[in-house]
Amino acid sequence: MSERKKAEDFAKEQKEISVSEFFEKNKHLLGFDNPTKSLLMAVKEAVDNSLDACEEAGILPDLVVKIKNVKEDIYIVSVSDNGPGIVKEQIPRIFGKLLYGSKFHRLKQSRGQQGIGISSVTLYSQLTTGVPTKVWSKVESKKKTHYCELHLDTTKNEPDVIKEEDIEKDILGEHGVKIDMEIHGRYRKTVEDYLKQTSISNPFAKIMYTAPDGTKTTFPRSLNELPKPSKTMRPHPHGMEFGILQRLLQKTSSRTLLSFLTNEFSSVGQQSAKEICKSAKLQDSMKPQDMERGDIEKLIKSMQTSKVQRPPTDCLSPIGEAELEKSLKKEYPSAEFITSIKREPEVYRGFPFLIEVGIVYGFQEGKKKDDDEKREDSIELIRFANRVPLLYQQSACALTDAVKGVDWRRYNMQQSGNNLPVGQMKLVIHICSVWVPFVSESKEAVASYPEIIKETKLALQDAGRKLASYLSGKRRVGEQKRRLQIFDRYSGEVASAIAILVGKPEKEVEKKLKSLIESRAHIKEDTPEEKEQGK
């Protein structure tokens, strides 16, 4: 009989796991599941951060993205922007500490939200190549560029700065940040797709891209104006959860429950705050910090069911109907038909969100396919969340479900069963929200909230109707053209036969007949079918 282990023995083996260690072992949770995707993740995280920074600082973004193949499957990803720069004290923590950021604790629409992204690339780079991440930052044209090389200490989840200095060499212009990451990866065209899509959803950004083979591509801006800055939103009572509420109650400076409700939440005034307290059977003069577990439970139930106004919507920053259309026209100049739809904001779990849809129909791209192939191709679905392209996990995404849930046959598209429609179409869907619910930390698929699916379907149907009216118009014109062609084709023989029968010159009869055909060009309907009639 083996010796039994005692609890004390276990205790010796049990120790804290740092967030960094956890993610070190679970790289896939952050999106680094294969070399191709890892390279893309590095580009994506850096680009998203740059765009967020520029937008918040009110600067029209100029981004330079370069990917260099060092050897075999080692690449240097380099991204620089003209943003506000980062003060030198913050650089190590932003790039070298997981779950550190400005965006997590606020309710405001931004690309990043968790504070994991860029530091996870530092971690991945260190795990695969061991080369430290290099950061250059310039905050003011008069100040020097600050340079920093860093690692991430996984056991402590703290930055490990290897080298830090101010340098003379001016590589950043007036202000901005440049980051170089050396990682293990595999280069595929997905990087270019990602940048192209980013350019669609950020029409105010200019991105210059150099691929590993040296090919340069510029994605120009189609808009010279930044979107209106979105506002930070206080939480809405309908979206409250126990833990968050408990924390807010502890931290608040309000003295009474009533003022806590009106101060800390959006859409709650005196009247509705009183209502909430009343239906929760709580005194509105209670001190927030004194509330006990049972009280909080009663309060949360009442908050979730109370009739309060919808959350404010000025915290959302959609692309815009005209802007999306313009942006798509720039990206797909040969498309036959482009349209877009912007819906009004809606709410899920107390978070406002908004859906935009764009349709690009009838495009020529690459080699021409023959008819058979064309018929079999599903449409291309381009998904965005807060202007960030979602390139993976299409089938797990609520936006995809919404597309499949729409009956596209009603809009003159082919579709078999509940699949994606088939045909020459690109469908763009953008969800923007102060908090986009993702299926996982790698932010690739939107979670299936019924409100989101319903709203997306409505947006798709709006856009579908516009497409259908274009297609049926096109069909009508084509049909009319075909009809006239038939009449025109027979006109020669008819004219010649009449000329022989009546003994007149063929030219004269033909001229009359042609002018009759032309005068009927606008008539779309056939005369009724052969009718029987008594003599």
Binding site: E493, V509, T527, E532, Q533, K535
Partner: protein
């Protein structure tokens, strides 16, 4: 007659041209030739066309091509008349077949497309194909004591050796110079004609012998009608004893459904059916030469029972019912079972003498 025809065709062209000049949808009015518009005229004993018509429009995708084709056939025919020449319907098809400009579409793809257009034109302007100078293959043979003039030549039907005169598709311009006969005997089969011709039947019985070679051509039907009408010769029809034979008789007598519009010009309502009848099989002891009727024969016979012109005569009803009941039929050659000359020397003379005819 030729002048009238030209006028009819010209009028058709004028009407369409006027539509064009008035900026209207050009159309051609054509009587409907479907069974729904075919009527059995009891008084005349003929099938005729009712008065339902349909318009064929140029500005109608479903009509446009036929509209063009109708005018093409009309103008082709006008040219034939102008040049005083004839063309076969196959000639016409080849002459009019061509590819339309800027397309791979043909004016006509097959002759089966141009043939019905000719009939459309016949009914539209109420003329006969023969008058439009359009001909078909010769079919049918004739022999007898008759002299005719055809395109200037005198032809003696009694002096054509073993062959007889083959009947052209247009006989309306044939002139009868001498007709010496007491009746016309129409035989369904060429083999039957050969037998009777060799046996000098027409000489011995002073008649005109016509072999139709199956369903009679329009030329043959017109010839029968003219002999009956112009020379008051009774017409006796001699066919197989089966549904097909009975229908051949009916076509000669009353016209056919598909050509109801020309019945009055080419049918012979006074024609009588001589044989074979189903009763004959029993009467003349031909049972051993009879054939078992097939399902299609029975089915067709049941249809014949319902045709008005078979309905009115109880004897016809009896014969057709007998065919259905006994399930047998017999060819005219079955008479050879009683000896090769039985047909010409016993059966036919006896039938004619007894006036044992079906009406």
């Amino acid at each position: 007659m030729t002048k009238e025809m030209k006028k009819e065709l010209e009028n058709l062209g004028q009407k369409v041209l006027q539509d064009i000049e008035k900026k209207e949808n050009p159309s051609i009015e054509i009587p409907i030739r479907a069974l729904s518009n075919v009527i059995f005229d009891k008084k005349a004993g003929q099938l005729t066309l009712g008065d339902k018509t349909a318009k064929r429009y140029y500005f109608n995708v479903a009509h446009a091509k036929k509209f063009m084709q109708t005018l093409m056939v009309a103008s082709f025919s006008k040219q034939l008349i102008d040049q005083k020449i004839h063309a076969s319907i196959r000639d016409m098809y080849y002459n009019l077949k061509r590819t339309l400009p800027n397309s791979d579409e043909n004016t006509f793809d097959e002759q089966s497309e141009s043939d019905p257009i000719i009939v459309d034109l016949e009914v539209a302007i109420d003329v006969l194909r023969e008058q439009l100078h359009l001909t078909t293959d010769r079919k049918g043979i004739v022999a007898g004591n008759v002299k005719i003039q055809d395109r200037g030549d005198i032809i003696d039907w009694s002096k054509l050796g073993s062959g007889g005169w083959s009947i052209p598709s247009t006989v309306d311009e044939v002139d009868f110079k001498k007709v010496d006969a007491e009746f016309v005997l129409v035989v369904e089969k060429n083999a039957g004609f050969e037998r009777l011709h060799e046996d000098k039947f027409w000489q011995k019985h002073n008649c005109i012998l016509i072999g139709t070679g199956g369903q009679p051509s329009r030329g043959t039907r017109l010839l029968i009608q003219r002999l009956n009408d112009e020379h008051k010769l009774p017409v006796y029809v001699f066919c197989d004893s089966d549904s097909y034979g009975f229908y051949i008789y009916s076509v000669i007598k009353s016209g056919s459904i598909s050509l109801a519009h020309v019945s009055d010009r080419i049918s012979t309502p006074s024609a009588r059916y001589l044989g074979l009848t189903v009763s004959d099989i029993y009467e003349y002891d031909l049972k051993k030469a009879a054939i078992k009727a097939k399902d299609v024969d029975i089915k067709r016979a049941k249809e014949l029972l319902n045709y008005e012109w078979f309905k009115k005569n109880p004897r016809w009803q009896k014969e057709i019912n007998l065919l259905i009941e006994k399930g047998i039929k017999a060819e005219i050659e079955a008479l050879s079972h009683r000896g090769l000359k039985f047909m010409s020397e016993e059966y036919l003379p006896e039938k004619i003498k007894k006036k044992d005819f079906l009406d």
